[in-house]
């Protein structure tokens, strides 16, 4: 976020925010993991991103909004390094997601149960890439183009057979049964390409294996009509195979100038276009366009200053993007130019792929590219967006994103070693700066305990992927601007190296904390050490044996019970003292029907402070409300305008009030007891636009400890104070106010000078660094954990792209 330092006195933040003092911590360990693979589902709505630590994220744009939202995260096997991701049509939910791994296995990601299943066991050989045939639906659309292509191939094949191959038949219509299931080509480290059928039961059925070639098969792709497979290997050769017969049709030496097949030239990516053009990306920084019919070179672009790792094509297949280890995304466009030398009457249309533009948004290597068409429908927010805005000298990246992100606009997503994901407009690539859709990747989950049993001191629970840290928070009474609060680490509890911590929680007393890895949940008790040597001691507490591992856990407000949302889609209530299971809830849509669990697993839990209510939210945005006292299902709230719930909580003032924010940047207030929308929500027709265009999605909310009617919501870039007691104004000058507050620095919050401005509702305050956590510590003081992104980048394993600056 860029901040201008122009602070005019009369435009000071209004008192509601400026009166708060903010304590900051920047020392939290936050190590996001690089993205290694991206894949877009066939409908173009969802993007799967696999990270180096084995986790998988599904990113989508919630209906009616344009901001990206991480719908769900699956913590996979941390040792199974994902090499490629494919979406495959079919299956019970319409599409299935598979990933290949460096250890040679193929796993299926169950997006409903949030787990990972191995579908193809390792044969001990690494898989470099998988490619799936184009889906049927697409194929029909492409039939016309495909026909022409196919004929071309037939001709070519006959030529070939007359020359050398005696037992070579023209492929013809391949076996009917094969075309039914999607087929997958798997490029193996030992030089084989395996072809598998994916059955409806998600099995990989071995079909054939292409002949062994020298070197490693690093990239495979199918031709659009699925008759041919192109494979690129580490010896710099691109081979074209007949998919039906498994014989090699031709091979291309990709080295520039035909300089032999240097063993060091790796073909990292191949892309087959509908027009019959094959695009290759290799380790020498070249992107080459080939005529896939003859295997002849059309054009070479050597603009990357490093390996070219990924290729992607626009849906219209007239634009190709390449990205590589120099952090650049380069656009090539097919332009048909009329040669002026031949006169106007005889037009010889020459088609060329021209370099057009590059964008360098990533600081590190880019590993993957994909193109998505993510916005499924546009709400009226777009209509409001069309309002004229006052011209400002400096526009932030967010606002340019709002300009181009519309329905049906294809977006290019790039991700790589700097762990971020960027979205670019495919069509207006040259005009807009990419949008950072993931400002705080893999946020470290943090919980704050305000009044612990240990001298009322404040405690923090910080969950890393392999361990849990309990910190003692020391806030200064008098905070000067720019000063940081201090933490003291009390205990670190580590898990086994092969497991990852999925969720964790700490009780309000601070004495109990729990985490769950992929095996089972564990409960610990923190106590002061008996002797002086170890001031703090951790004791493991027993939990009921048959408790499954959890996606979410929470303690009740009085710390007496722990609620575990198991991966088996049941919710368990455990009495901590007696360590016995008290009750098991089954989330279901119909109330009072106790049946086997059919609903997706719960990923978020909220309890009310009087211990009466439990709200459970699944990753799709459905909310189940349970009454803990009567142990009954209270209410089911179907997903709110199709959007996921990003944050929520029961108001401490009125325990019957549940407030949730959704990924479409809406806020809802429910009256749980009355099972209806709360008074505020029913009265408020539309939230102010400045809130709907909140930079980044809301990732959390915090209530002040007092009986105030306000709440602070925050994203990783900004925070916003909402007072339910105040009217919701939606005036036209809202945009100006966001811009103005943008100009203010964090330090100004502590300025005690009160301005005479009216108290404003929904004031958005941008924050400087990516925020991990923000909460009230007392009535007028906030506690914030953030970390400058530069520090995060320093802790990344990969080194950033070295850029030679001219003149040095």
């Amino acid at each position: 976020m860029d901040k201008t330092k122009t602070i005019s006195v009369d435009r000071r933040p209004s008192e509601c925010v400026s009166s708060h003092s903010i304590d900051k911590i920047t020392s939290i360990d936050w190590r996001p993991s690089p993205v290694v693979a991206l894949a877009t589902s066939f409908d173009g709505l969802r993007v799967a991103a696999a990270r180096h630590d084995g986790s998988l994220e599904i990113w989508l744009v919630s209906p009616g909004s344009i901001g990206w939202h991480c719908q769900l995260t699956i913590h996979g096997n941390p040792n199974g390094k994902v090499t490629s991701l494919i979406w495959c049509p079919g299956g019970p939910h319409g599409s299935r997601l598979f990933s290949s791994h460096l250890d040679g296995s193929v796993t299926k990601w169950d997006l409903f149960h949030l787990n990972q299943e191995t579908v193809l066991d390792s044969v001990g050989v690494s898989i470099w890439q998988m490619a799936v045939t184009f889906p049927k639906g697409d194929k029909i659309n492409d039939e016309k183009k495909g026909d022409q292509m196919g004929n071309g191939f037939h001709d070519f094949d006959e030529h070939e057979s007359s020359e050398s191959d005696e037992d070579f038949d023209s492929p013809g219509p391949h076996e009917g049964s094969v075309g039914e299931n999607p087929r997958v080509a798997i490029g193996l480290d030992n030089g084989h390409v395996g072809i598998y059928d994916i059955s409806d039961t998600d099995e990989f059925i071995y079909e054939k294996s292409l002949p062994w070639v020298n070197g490693r098969v690093l990239s495979v792709t199918w031709s659009t009509d699925a008759n041919y497979i192109y494979s690129g290997s580490s010896d710099g050769l691109i081979r074209c195979w007949n998919a039906a017969l498994g014989n090699e049709i031709y091979r291309i030496t990709a080295g520039l100038g035909g300089l032999g097949s240097g063993h060091e030239l790796c073909i990292w990516s191949l892309l087959s276009l509908r027009s019959g053009t094959l695009v290759s990306a290799d380790s020498s920084g070249s992107v080459q366009f080939w005529d896939s019919q003859h295997g002849t070179l059309l054009q070479t672009h050597s603009l990357h200053k490093g390996h070219v790792n990924a290729l992607a094509a626009a849906p219209s297949h007239d634009r190709v993007f390449s990205a590589g280890s120099d952090g650049q995304v380069i656009l090539y466009k097919l332009s048909s130019s009329q040669s002026a030398s031949s006169d106007d009457n005889k037009s010889s249309l020459t088609k060329r792929w021209n370099y057009l533009h590059y964008v360098r948004a990533h600081t590190h290597d880019i590993r993957a590219l994909t193109v998505a068409v993510p916005i499924s429908h546009e709400a009226d927010i777009k209509a409001e967006n069309r309002f004229k805005r006052a011209r400002r000298g400096k526009k932030s990246a967010d606002f340019s994103y709002h300009k181009w992100a519309h329905l049906g606009v294809p977006m290019l997503i790039s991700a790589g070693d700097d762990t971020k994901l960027f979205a670019y407009p495919v069509k207006e690539f040259t005009k807009f700066y990419p949008h950072d859709i993931c400002p705080a990747p893999q946020r470290t989950p943090i919980q704050l305990v305000l009044n612990s049993v240990f001298n009322q001191s404040k405690m923090l629970l910080v969950q890393s992927s392999q361990w849990i840290d309990v910190h003692l928070l020391q806030l200064k009474n008098v905070c000067t601007p720019g000063d940081f609060a201090k933490t003291k680490i009390l205990r670190r509890v580590k898990t086994k190296a092969s497991r990852k911590i999925i969720c964790s929680t700490i009780s309000n007393s601070g004495a109990l904390f729990a985490y769950s890895d992929q095996e089972k949940p564990r409960l610990y008790e923190l106590e002061r050490g008996k002797d002086g040597k170890i001031p703090w001691d951790v004791r493991r507490r027993m939990l009921p044996q048959r408790l499954p591992f959890a996606h979410s856990m929470i303690f009740t407000h009085d710390s007496s019970c722990m609620i575990v949302a198991g991966h088996d889609r049941m919710i368990y209530v455990v009495d901590v003292e007696r360590s016995e299971l008290v009750h098991t809830f089954t989330p279901c849509r119909q109330l009072d029907v106790d049946s086997s669990p059919t609903e997706p697993p719960i990923t978020r839990l909220f309890t009310s402070s009087d211990g009466q209510w439990l709200a459970a939210v699944n990753c799709f945005g459905d909310i189940y409300v349970f009454n803990l006292e009567t142990r009954r299902n209270q209410w089911f709230i179907s997903r709110l305008d199709g959007a996921s719930v990003t944050a929520g909580g029961f108001s401490p003032r009125n325990n019957n009030v549940l407030i949730v924010t959704t990924s479409s940047n809406q806020m809802y207030v429910f009256d749980v007891e009355a099972k209806r929308l709360g008074e505020w929500s029913s009265q408020t027709s539309a939230l102010p636009r400045r809130y709907q265009e909140f930079p980044g999605e809301v990732i959390g909310l915090s209530f002040p400890p007092s009986t105030s009617s306000s709440v602070v919501v925050y994203s990783s870039r900004a925070m916003c104070l909402i007072d339910f007691g105040l009217p919701v104004e939606s005036d036209e000058s809202d945009m100006l106010n966001i811009q103005d507050s943008r100009a203010k620095n964090l330090q100004n919050f502590n300025l005690k000078k009160r301005t005479k401005h009216n108290r404003r509702n929904f004031e958005v305050v941008p924050l400087e660094n990516p925020v991990l956590f923000l909460a009230y510590t007392s009535k007028n003081s906030l506690f914030m954990i953030d970390k400058p992104w530069l520090q995060v980048v320093k802790s990344l394993e990969a080194t950033p792209v070295h850029r030679h600056i001219f003149g040095t």
């Binding site: 054009q299 070479t300 672009h301 050597s302 603009l303 634009r319 656009l331 466009k333 332009s335 048909s336 130019s337 009329q338 040669s339 002026a340 030398s341 106007d344 009457n345 037009s347 249309l349 060329r352 021209n354 370099y355 057009l356 533009h357 069509k427 207006e428 690539f429 040259t430 005009k431 001219f806 003149g807």
Partner: protein
């Protein structure tokens, strides 16, 4: 009179059809150079204003050599440059700043014989009315004129611009374009052109000021460079506007703006891509003739070759000077680049190596730190400091650069900050010794260094370093060097108040062969009251050294280092000093608020006469008691004298000038007596070089300004263009032609040359000097004016 030193790079040169000649606009003439030898072959003379545009009529047979030129004087002329003679003159009455002739470039129709269509030129002219009319500041106009049947410039104005812009034409002759601040305007040339034919125009926009543009030879591609160094390439421009009427509707329905990536403001182009390599503004852009490459260059002096398809770059670095123009020749193996330091390099093309340079005199880089150019009395050379820390020796008689010596061994990049300056260069009278001073400027106040170098002529008649002295005067800069005319002795002066006499030990004979000089050694050190010393001179016999110590002149015996006498006092520090020939008169020059030209009599050790005039340069004859000064006129007198300076020739004994000439651009100019060429009269010649390094050489004593024939000593030997047949294999046979030397004809025809730009006429026509000199001299001058020779 010999004139020369013209600027070769005022506009782009053009190759002839056989690529053996290069036509260069040199002021009001066009010089024709041989590309094989790099020497001047002929020149087209006739324009009275600077020539701004050159168009060679292309011809497939390469035999015809016609060209069109346009000039600021408002005429367009048609030449046969092989003869050379002017064929046709068209008077436009508008100053022409750029001209292109599209119909010459487009392929000739087959009905060539029957009806030859009229040839139309597109000219960028300055509207003379615009200056008077303050309401329209746009004085540049793009107009058309019929060259075949000229009546008047077409009243159709294609575009009005703020200043006259230069026109760019595509090599196919189909499109022409100009840049206009942040826009490009491109016209399609009508197929059948007439005075009233309206050409269609498109406009392309950019966010930065565009500096240069180039059009692709075949396709509809235009490249433009901007001030930030970006190169933009629009492909498929004018698809809607130009192509639509041609009956050809594009297969793709030109649907929407989103199909045009990178193109601004709904411009009519398919796509626009950006390349960025140049750190500062792009000055030259040119497509190769096959359209596969793009050449670009800028201030940093690197020619960049872009492969248009892939964007791959190739470089020709270390040209050492900002690049201005790149010109392709019909011969694919030759092309030329013009540099800002007045050099035209001829490149051998695929390898991009400089095979030949046409070097004009390098531009004045004097910015306070450098002294003036030094002249060689005997050989007629001028030594000028160059930007790349060297000294260029330029033959004034031959009007070409001879060679350069590098004073300071370091690479020069035009974008670099100046850290080293060659501040002084001085030649001895016989031209065999040279002294240079280079100053390394201190960085952040530390590290400054003054270095004095003595140079000797080596066997190739080139200077090589003999002695190098670091910090000769401890802590002060060197203000002047002077050579003893009779022996190998020199004096260096410093602002710190001391001078050092350096002697070169006589050559030592050893084993019958001449050894190198043993080098220059400090012979003596002197100072006078610690006064800053700024000028020194040896008397003609070398027995007296006069050193100006601030306001007084001290006379020394240089051999014994004895102060002989102290002469007089001036009001301001003396900055220049000299003995007038073999006479006993000393001339001193002071600058500043009270400038003074004084003549001191050595016999009486007193002032003889003086003027209060601002002297820019002074030169003395060797043998006679004459001296010439270049005086700057006060600004109020400029209109009376048609120039800002005046050259006055004095005899020391007489304060009345013997002759005077009015000159222009006198600021930064120089003056020197040169030894006449042997075939000429034995009188010495006077050379005047102005601030732009244009020069003239003339006889100071002749009543009329005789024009000397251009003397070309050795050019004829080099003239043959290329060797063929026997000679190409075995080399040239020795020629037995004793009469060859006689062919260097000496034609002293006094044709009326347009030398009004520099001289307003002979001395008789000049107004009296009353306005020039002080009140004291007024009566004296008036009386004796008729007797002035």
């Amino acid at each position: 009179m010999i004139s020369g030193g013209q600027n070769y790079v005022s506009s782009a040169p053009v190759f002839s059809n056989d690529a053996k000649r290069l036509l260069v606009c040199t002021g009001s003439t066009v010089s024709v150079f041989s590309t094989a030898t790099g020497s001047r072959v002929s020149s087209l003379e006739g324009h009275s204003g600077p020539v701004t545009a050159l168009v060679v009529v292309p011809d497939s047979s390469t035999l015809l050599s016609f060209c069109w030129t346009a000039s600021v004087d408002g005429t367009i002329r048609h030449w046969d440059f092989s003869v050379p003679e002017c064929v046709k003159i068209i008077d436009l009455h508008f100053p022409v700043f750029s001209m292109v002739v599209p119909s010459l470039l487009s392929p000739r129709e087959e009905n060539d014989a029957k009806t030859r269509p009229d040839v139309f030129a597109y000219v960028s002219v300055q509207n003379p009315n615009a200056e008077a009319n303050c309401l329209s500041p746009r004085c540049g106009q793009i107009r058309k004129c019929n060259l075949t049947n000229f009546h008047a410039v077409s009243s159709l104005i294609l575009k009005e611009t703020e200043r006259p812009e230069s026109l760019t034409i595509s090599p196919s002759g189909k499109f022409l374009g100009i840049k206009d601040k942040r826009k490009l305007h491109i016209w399609k040339v009508p197929k059948v052109d007439s005075d009233s034919a309206v050409s269609k125009k498109i406009t392309l926009h950019h966010s930065k000021t565009i500096t240069v543009l180039a059009l692709h030879p075949m396709e509809r591609i235009v490249a433009a460079g901007d001030v930030t160094g970006r190169i933009l390439i629009w492909r498929g421009f004018g698809a809607q506007k130009f192509m639509h009427s041609g009956g050809l509707v594009n297969g793709r329905s030109t649907n929407d703006e989103e199909d045009k990536p990178g193109v601004r403001e709904n411009d009519d182009a398919e796509s626009c891509s950006t390349w960025h390599w140049h750190p500062s503004g792009v000055r030259l852009l040119s497509f190769s003739s096959d359209g596969a490459y793009l050449y670009s260059g800028g201030k940093e002096g690197v020619l960049v070759l872009w492969q248009l398809d892939t964007g791959k770059k190739n470089f020709l670095p270390r040209i050492g000077s900002p690049l201005l123009y790149f010109v392709d020749s019909p011969d694919p193996s030759l092309s030329s680049i013009s540099c800002a330091d007045n050099q035209i390099h001829i490149l051998k093309m695929p390898s991009m190596e400089i095979i030949r340079s046409i070097s004009g005199i390098k531009a004045n880089i004097c910015e306070g730190l450098c002294s003036r150019a030094a002249f060689d009395y005997t050989s007629g050379l001028v030594a000028v400091q160059t930007e790349n820390y060297g000294i260029q020796f330029y033959s004034l008689f031959a009007n070409r650069g001879l060679y350069e010596v590098q004073v300071c061994e370091r690479n020069h990049q035009p974008v670099d900050e100046v850290t080293v300056v060659v501040s002084l260069v001085e030649l001895s009278v016989d031209g065999s010794m040279m002294g240079t001073v280079e100053v390394k400027l201190p960085e952040d106040g530390v590290g400054g260094l003054v270095c004095l170098k003595f140079w000797d002529l080596d066997d190739n008649k080139r200077f090589s370093v003999s002695t190098l002295i670091y910090e000769p005067h401890r802590d002060a800069h060197i203000s002047a060097i002077a050579f003893n005319p009779t022996r190998r002795m020199a004096v260096s002066l410093s602002y710190g108040g001391d001078f050092k006499i350096w002697v070169c030990k006589e050559e030592i004979k050893q084993k019958g062969q001449m050894l190198q000089n043993s080098g220059w050694m400090c012979h003596a050190v002197g100072s006078y009251k610690n006064k800053a010393m700024r000028a020194a001179a040896f008397s003609a016999d070398g027995s007296v050294l006069a050193v100006a110590a601030d306001n007084v002149i001290t006379l020394w015996d240089p051999n014994n280092n004895v102060l002989v006498a102290v002469v007089g006092e001036t009001l301001m520090p003396i900055t220049s000093l000299g003995f007038a020939g073999k006479s006993y008169y000393l001339v001193s020059v002071c600058h500043g608020s009270k400038p003074q030209l004084s003549v001191w009599s050595m016999s009486r050790l007193a002032a003889f006469w003086s003027y209060k005039i601002q002297i820019e340069a002074v030169s003395f004859t060797i043998d006679f008691s004459y001296f010439a000064v270049l005086a700057l006129l006060p600004e109020s007198n400029e209109y009376a004298f048609k120039g800002d300076g005046i050259i006055l020739l004095f005899n020391v004994t007489n304060p009345t000038p013997m002759a005077s000439w009015s000159v222009t651009k006198a600021k930064g100019g120089g003056l020197a007596f040169l030894k006449g060429y042997p075939s000429e009269q034995l009188q010495s010649l006077l050379a005047y070089i102005n601030g732009d390094r244009e020069y003239v050489i003339f006889h100071p004593h002749s009543k009329e300004a005789f024009e000397l024939s251009r003397i070309r000593q050795d050019d004829h030997v080099l003239e043959e263009t290329g060797q063929f047949g026997y000679t190409s294999i075995y080399g040239e046979l020795p020629k037995f032609d004793p009469k060859r030397n006689l062919t260097s004809s000496i034609s002293s025809a006094a044709s009326e040359r347009p030398w009004e730009t520099i001289f307003s006429g002979s001395s008789h026509m000049l107004p009296p000097l009353t306005k020039l000199c002080s009140e004291f001299l007024e009566s004296l001058l008036e009386k004796k004016t008729p007797t002035v020779e």
